[in-house]
C-alpha cells in the first residue's frame, strides 16, 4: 500500500534545507534503518541506509543516493519475519529486515496499516473469522444452497429436464427390474385412477407411469427427473387398498414436481466442489466421504417435501394422507421382515432401522419412518 495517502504540499518536497537532516522520531532520536537496495535492472544488492527528512525518504549507499517523497513510495504489508519492501517509482525496491526501525520510521510519518493487516494481527479477529467462517458455511449448507439450487432447478427448461435420466430406466431394466406380471387391465385401472387425481394448486406435472417386477428390490416405487414413475408389482400386492398405491404415487410425483433429481445434482456438485477445494489436496478419499454424508441430509429433506406434496394432493382429492402413512408402515415392515428372514446374524439392519431416531438420523437418506408417519397423520 502507499506509504502516505495525502500528497504533502509542494513546498515540503526536496528542499535543500530538509535534506541531510534526518527527522527526529517521536522518541527524540533520528531513525536510521539499514536496508538492501535493488535497482530493478540488475540483481546487484546495494547495502544502504534509510532515513527521513521531513516527508522525504533519503536513501544513501556506496555510490547511491536518492530522495523520494514518501507519497511516491509503496510499502509492503508486514508478514512476520519476511522483510518489508519499499517500492520506488521506476521499479527499484528496498528490502528492510530491521522491523523495529522500519516501524518507528513508518510511525513518524503517520503511516497506518490497512484494515485487513490489522485484522490479521490479532488473535481476537482470527477467532472471530473462524466463527464467521463456520457460521456462514453452516448457514449456506442449511439454507443457502438448498434455496439456490431450488431456484436454479426451476430455471431449467422442461425440454432439458426431459433428457435427464431418460436412460436410467433402461439401465434399471437391464440390471434389476423385469417386465410387470400385472394384467394390463389392472395397470390401466391404476393409471386411470391416478390420472383422475388433481395436483394441488393446479400444478401441471408431466409424468409416465411404469409397472415393473421389482425382483430382489421388492416392494418399491421411484421417480426419475424426466417424470418417469416406476411402481413394482410387489408394492401393488402389498397395498390393501388402491388409495395406498395412489398415495405412494403422489409422493413420487412430488419428487418430480419439486425437481428433486435436478436439485440433488446441483447441490451435490457444489458440495463436492467446495469440499474438494478445501481438503482436496489432503486426500480425495477424505474429500469424498464427507460429501456423501453431507448430501444425505438434502435427500432426507426432499423426502419430507415429497411427503408434504403427496399429503396436499391426497387431501385435495378427498383421500386421507394417512393412506401414505399406512403404506410407509407396510413398506418398512416388509423390508424389515425381509432383512430379518435372511439370517439370524443379520440383525444389524433391523437394529439400525430402529436406531434411526438417534444420531444416525442426521446421516440417513430418508427421515425416520416413524417421524414421517406422525407428520402425515397430523396432516389430516
Amino acid at each position: 500500500m502507499r506509504w502516505a495517502k495525502k500528497p504533502p504540499t509542494f513546498s515540503m518536497s526536496i528542499s535543500p534545507s530538509d535534506t541531510g537532516t534526518p527527522k527526529a522520531a517521536p522518541g527524540g532520536e533520528a531513525v536510521i534503518v539499514n536496508a538492501t537496495y535493488f535497482d530493478g535492472r540488475s540483481a546487484l544488492a546495494h547495502a544502504v541506509t534509510l532515513s527521513l527528512a521531513g516527508d522525504v525518504l533519503q536513501l544513501r549507499g556506496h555510490g547511491i543516493a536518492r530522495d523520494d517523497p514518501v507519497t511516491a513510495l509503496r510499502v509492503s504489508e508486514p508478514m512476520g519475519a519476511a522483510p518489508r519492501l519499499i517500492s520506488f517509482p521506476g521499479g527499484a525496491h528496498c528490502e528492510v529486515r530491521d522491523h523495529a526501525g522500519m516501524a518507528r520510521m513508518l510511525a513518524a510519518t503517520g503511516f497506518e496499516d490497512g484494515l485487513v493487516v490489522r485484522l490479521q494481527r490479532r488473535w481476537r479477529w482470527a477467532l472471530a473469522s473462524v466463527a464467521v467462517t463456520l457460521a456462514v458455511v453452516f448457514a449456506g449448507y442449511h439454507w443457502g444452497l438448498p434455496a439456490a439450487s431450488e431456484w436454479l432447478a426451476f430455471q431449467m427448461p422442461d425440454a432439458a429436464l426431459a433428457r435427464m435420466g431418460s436412460s436410467t430406466l433402461d439401465v434399471l431394466d437391464r440390471i434389476a427390474l423385469s417386465p410387470s406380471k400385472l394384467p394390463a387391465a389392472r395397470q390401466q385401472q391404476l393409471r386411470d385412477a391416478f390420472a383422475l387425481l388433481a395436483a394441488p394448486g393446479g400444478a401441471q406435472t408431466r409424468y409416465t407411469l411404469h409397472f415393473r417386477d421389482g425382483g430382489t428390490i421388492g416392494a418399491n416405487a421411484m421417480a426419475l427427473p424426466d417424470g418417469t414413475l416406476v411402481v413394482t408389482d410387489q408394492l401393488v400386492a402389498l397395498a390393501a387398498h388402491d388409495e395406498e398405491i395412489l398415495a405412494v404415487l403422489t409422493h413420487e410425483l412430488g419428487h418430480v414436481q419439486r425437481r428433486h433429481g435436478l436439485r440433488m445434482l446441483i447441490q451435490g456438485s457444489i458440495v463436492a466442489f467446495v469440499v474438494s477445494f478445501y481438503i482436496g489436496d489432503v486426500s480425495s478419499v477424505a474429500a469424498g466421504l464427507p460429501t456423501l454424508l453431507l448430501q444425505a441430509r438434502y435427500s432426507r429433506n426432499h423426502e419430507t417435501e415429497a411427503d408434504h406434496f403427496g399429503a396436499a394432493m391426497l387431501k385435495a382429492n378427498g383421500i386421507s394422507p394417512q393412506r401414505l402413512a399406512q403404506m410407509l408402515e407396510k413398506l418398512e415392515a416388509a423390508h424389515r421382515a425381509k432383512a430379518a428372514a435372511k439370517s439370524d446374524k443379520d440383525k444389524t439392519a433391523t437394529e439400525s432401522q430402529a436406531r434411526r431416531g438417534g444420531i444416525g438420523d442426521y446421516l440417513a437418506s430418508h427421515p425416520a419412518t416413524r417421524e414421517r408417519i406422525e407428520a402425515l397423520n397430523n396432516a389430516r
Binding site: 538492501t36 535493488f38 535497482d39 530493478g40 535492472r41 540488475s42 540483481a43 546487484l44 544488492a45 546495494h46 547495502a47 549507499g61 556506496h62 509492503s76 504489508e77 508478514m79 512476520g80 519475519a81 519476511a82 522483510p83 519492501l85 521499479g91 527499484a92 525496491h93 528490502e95 485487513v116 485484522l119 490479521q120 494481527r121 490479532r122 479477529w125 482470527a126 472471530a128 473469522s129 473462524v130 464467521v132 467462517t133 456462514v136 458455511v137 432439458a160 435427464m164 425382483g215 430382489t216 428390490i217 435436478l262 445434482l265 456438485s269 466442489f273 477445494f277 478445501y278 481438503i279 489432503v282 486426500s283 478419499v285 477424505a286 425381509k338 432383512a339 435372511k342 439370517s343 443379520d346
Partner: protein, 357 residues
C-alpha cells in the same frame, strides 16, 4: 563490488514462515472470501503467495510475488465457468458433455502455458523477474500429446509424459538473462515409477491375507458374489469398498510422500540456473512423518490445521533445497540484468490468466 548481505554463501534456501502467523492471515482472508462470495479469494491468494515468497530467502534476500488479483479473479471465473459447463453438460446429454470435454482438452494446454507465464513473470528475486518462454505449440505437446499417449498405452508412457512436462516447465524458465536447464531423462522417471509399481505389487500380496481375515471375521460374507439378495450383496459391496478405501489411504499416505520426495529430488537435482546446479535432498521418511501428522491433525481440527500443515510442508521442502555455486554467486547475481526487451515483448501479449488454484 558492494558487500553482500549474504549469510549463506553456499546458496542454501531459508524459510521463515510461521504457522500461527500464517493461520491468522489464512483465516481472516478465508472469512473475507466467504463474506464476498468468493470474490476476495483472488486477493487472498496474492497475500498467501506473498507470505510464502517473501518468507523464502536465498543468500539472505527474499523472493516476491507480484500477481494482480484482478487477473487471478478473471482466471478463477474462467475456471469455474469451465467446470460448471463440464458438469452440467453431462447431466443434459452425453453428446454435449463429450463436446465440452473436447473443447476443454483443446484449450487446456494453452491456459496452462498462460498460467506458467503469469506465475513466472510475477515472481521476482533481487528485483529481477523470472520469465517463461515456452511456446504454445510445445505446451500442446507436453500437456496434451504426451498425456494422451500415456492413456493410450495404459500408463506405459506415463513416466515419459511426466518427464516431458517437467522438461517443458524447467527448460523454458529463465531468471533475468540466465536460463534454467533441465537434464533429467525419461529413464530417471521410469526408475521411480517402476519402484512404485513394485510397491503396489507388494501391497497386492497382502490381499489374500486380508480376504482370509475377512472370511474369519464374518463367515459367509463372500456368498454375496453368488447371491441375488440385495442385503447380502450390499454388505459385500460395503466390505469391498472399505478394503479399497484402506488400501487407497495406505497407498496415499505411504507411497505419496515417497513419490513426492523422489520426484522433487530428481527434478531439482537436474535443474540448473546458468552454470549453478540446484540441489534437493528431501527424505521420504521425513515427508511421510509430516504428511501423516498433517493428515491426522487436519481431520481432528476439521481443517483448521491446514495453514499450519502448509507451512510445515513448505518449510521442509524449501530448506532442503539449495543453489550449488559453481563460481561466486555474488558475482553471478551482480552481473544478472533484467532481460528488458524480452520482458517488454512478452508482457504485451500476456493475456493475464492464472488458472491454478
Amino acid at each position: 563490488m558492494t558487500p553482500e548481505a549474504s549469510s549463506t554463501p553456499n546458496g542454501q534456501i531459508e524459510f521463515t514462515g510461521n504457522g500461527s502467523e500464517y493461520f491468522r492471515i489464512w483465516i481472516v482472508n478465508l472469512a473475507l472470501t466467504i463474506l464476498t462470495l468468493g470474490i476476495y479469494s483472488a486477493w487472498a491468494k496474492v497475500r498467501r503467495l506473498q507470505y510464502f515468497y517473501r518468507n523464502t530467502a536465498l543468500m539472505g534476500h527474499g523472493f516476491d510475488y507480484h500477481g494482480d488479483p484482478v487477473a487471478i479473479l478473471k482466471g478463477r471465473i474462467t475456471g469455474i465457468v469451465l467446470l460448471v459447463a463440464y458438469n452440467g453438460a453431462f447431466a443434459v446429454s452425453m453428446r454435449l458433455g463429450l463436446l465440452i470435454l473436447l473443447i476443454l482438452l483443446a484449450v487446456f494446454p494453452w491456459l496452462l502455458q498462460r498460467s506458467l507465464c503469469f506465475r513466472l513473470h510475477n515472481s521476482s528475486y533481487r528485483g529481477l523477474r523470472f520469465r517463461f518462454t515456452g511456446s504454445v505449440k510445445d505446451a500442446y505437446e507436453a500437456f496434451l500429446v504426451w498425456p494422451i499417449a500415456s492413456y493410450l498405452t495404459l500408463g506405459g508412457l506415463m513416466p515419459l509424459a511426466h518427464q516431458r512436462i517437467k522438461e517443458y516447465q524447467h527448460n523454458h524458465s529463465a531468471y533475468g538473462t540466465a536460463p534454467f536447464h533441465f537434464s533429467a531423462k525419461a529413464g530417471d522417471f521410469y526408475r521411480i515409477y517402476l519402484k512404485i509399481l513394485g510397491l503396489m505389487f507388494l501391497m497386492g500380496l497382502l490381499i489374500p491375507l486380508i480376504v482370509y481375515g475377512i472370511h474369519l471375521a464374518s463367515p459367509g460374507i463372500f456368498d454375496g458374489f453368488k447371491s441375488k439378495n440385495p442385503e447380502v450383496v450390499g454388505k459385500l459391496i460395503g466390505v469391498i469398498f472399505m478394503v479399497i478405501m484402506v488400501f487407497y489411504l495406505v497407498f496415499f499416505l505411504l507411497v505419496g510422500p515417497w513419490f513426492a520426495a523422489r520426484i522433487q529430488n530428481l527434478v531439482w537435482n537436474h535443474t540448473a540456473l546458468g552454470v549453478h546446479v540446484m540441489a534437493s535432498h528431501v527424505r521420504a521418511r521425513d515427508l511421510f512423518k509430516i504428511y501423516f501428522t498433517n493428515f491426522i491433525a487436519i481431520i481432528l481440527t476439521l481443517g483448521l490445521f491446514k495453514p499450519f500443515a502448509d507451512i510445515r510442508v513448505a518449510r521442509y521442502r524449501l530448506t532442503h533445497m539449495a543453489l550449488n555455486a559453481q563460481s561466486s554467486l555474488d558475482e553471478f547475481f551482480a552481473q544478472e540484468q533484467q532481460a528488458v526487451n524480452a520482458l517488454g515483448e512478452e508482457t504485451a501479449n500476456v493475456f493475464d490468466v492464472d488458472i491454478s488454484f
